[in-house]
Assembly symmetry: C2
């Protein structure tokens, strides 16, 4: 869908976190990344070669991917200059911003004049069906979290990598804009019309080989009141055979919801499994993924060991420890 | 929002069921209905005076409401003639059809020429916020069902009527197109973008008097895999103080999902309450509404008594028995 390889646009990112989309692409599909384009004052650095548009084009890049959040919800004149120049240089543009490229008349006009394509991955481009609940062939695993932004995408990508390294058949199925930019395909679930949410996930994870695993990126949390409906649709549309529980242990409250405490892993395990078994009575919880980024090495190892003993499930931080044990747990099902 | 009173358009309805939207308006807001307009071959009859456009206009009708489903997903030429004539006669049009009036160029052109308004209640006209989960003042009750189309809207409307008759403060809050046509306002939840579902329900049920009840129309079912995400958003966005369980006892399987059996009322009670208490720890289950339309009088009474004994909750068919006991249960909380 989106032509590779990419030149990653970091703009005037105020810090590394602002460029996390670009970081994700570079981490998971390094072969897709020719270089980075940074404007004056950019505080992010992916460690890729800094390139001008001309240099990147000469190096084979096809698409300029906006890998950075914009400030104040507008595409600034400074960005516009670069984006217009990129179109003129022969790049397609790809973006997951809330502001759509297709709603910027100048970009639309220049893209048309230059015969280039604008990809807004935040917007569905498919008319999804209503879910029919029919059992599909192949296996599916879904990452479910105690909260939003606890590492569900990272877990799914790491699991996919570990499974392929082990010679197993798997496909990462993106359900958010970063995942879609990384893989070039997927469902921007948070932008899907309510009636078609579960159907979009059925569409995303069709019949497959009996020994193939779709690794479905999770969204939200059943315990996050803003987005729980999205999580619910993933559980019922995905009809997972296995769930991986994802958790970040240092949160004081649910993301964006002061006053809402995080649920226990046991609560998420029991509730998710009960709901998943409506669509797939054979679903099991296969493992736990802990995001230990705010912990020291020893503390992280101890925490994972404690959770493993407490829940009786393989427990790792895929970033620190790899996802091999989660992959093995799935392969053993 | 939609100007009243209405002339109800029944078109060429092949049976009474096809005109159930019109029936709902007539049942719940009879004062809003001046008459009915039926085309040749129409098999539905609301018992309202049959009127031409001219007669209805003379009787004060302001809006022609399409109260009938269309066949084959198109607005037929025969319907178009009537709709165009209605605009020319000075009516606004209101519709809950999937085919939008605003996407019919002839209707748009005539409406503009005549200075009339086209209302497509299936499409949100508000930019809803993302839910913030903040506790709101006033009381809320939500109807939750074992399945889709078991009578949740009817239950909520009957409850609203019973509460007002008892001198209690209440407002029916519509979340589907029929409810919106009945009241002239609400959220077409099935057409809302995923990220904003819960926020749309917070918007629909704002702060209110401490003794005021918002009676929120339910949608879908936690056990219906096609639409469970919508139900989830109602439970978390509505932050209900009370739930009414709704059930239709004669279903062989979930609506549209052969192979999916209905859950028990106990399962729906426990799961709904657990989820509701994430947003409102004080939520309780207040009563049960049984749709006994496919049962005889004795069988219906016996069934409700059995459920009442089984669950220890007031159990009625609001259509047969009224909703007074449910209203009393809420008033007693």
């Amino acid at each position: 869908m989106i032509k590779t390889p990419y030149l990653l646009f970091l703009g005037d990112a105020p810090d590394a976190l602002a460029a996390k989309v670009a970081q994700g692409i570079k981490d998971w599909r390094p072969d897709n990344c020719v270089g980075q384009l940074r404007m004056e004052g950019c505080q992010a650095d992916l460690g890729l070669p800094d390139m001008t548009l001309e240099q990147a084009k000469a190096a084979g890049a096809q698409t300029l991917v906006i890998g950075v959040a914009n400030r104040g919800g507008v595409i600034s004149p400074a960005w516009k200059k670069v984006l217009v120049a990129a179109l003129e240089e022969g790049f397609d543009l790809a973006s997951g911003l809330h502001n759509l490229l297709r709603e910027e008349p100048d970009l639309v006009a220049v893209a048309e004049a230059c015969g280039r394509t604008l990809h807004d991955v935040r917007v569905p481009e498919v008319d999804y069906p209503i879910a029919n609940g029919v059992k599909r062939t192949g296996k599916r695993v879904l990452a479910v979290g105690t909260d939003c932004s606890v590492g569900k995408m990272y877990t799914a990508l790491a699991l996919d990598k570990a499974m392929q390294a082990a010679g197993l058949k798997s496909t990462f199925r993106a359900t958010g804009q970063t995942g879609i930019l990384i893989t070039g395909d997927g469902v921007p679930l948070d932008a899907v019309i309510a009636d078609f949410m579960a159907g979009s996930i059925e569409w995303l994870t069709p019949d497959n080989d009996p020994d193939h695993w779709d690794i479905i990126e999770g969204q939200g949390s059943l315990y996050h009141v803003s987005f729980s409906g999205v999580t619910m649709a993933l559980i019922h549309g995905g009809q997972p055979d296995a769930l991986i529980l994802c958790h970040e242990p240092t949160r004081a409250h649910m993301r964006g919801l002061p006053g809402y405490r995080l649920p226990t892993l046991e609560a998420v395990r029991d509730l998710s499994l009960q709901l998943a078994q409506v669509a797939n009575p054979d679903c099991v919880v296969a493992g736990v993924s802990i995001n230990t980024q705010h912990m020291g090495e020893d503390e992280a190892a101890r925490y994972c060991a404690d959770i493993e003993a407490q829940l009786g499930l393989p427990t790792v931080d895929p970033f620190r420890h790899g996802a091999d044990r989660l992959a093995s747990a799935l392969a053993a099902l």
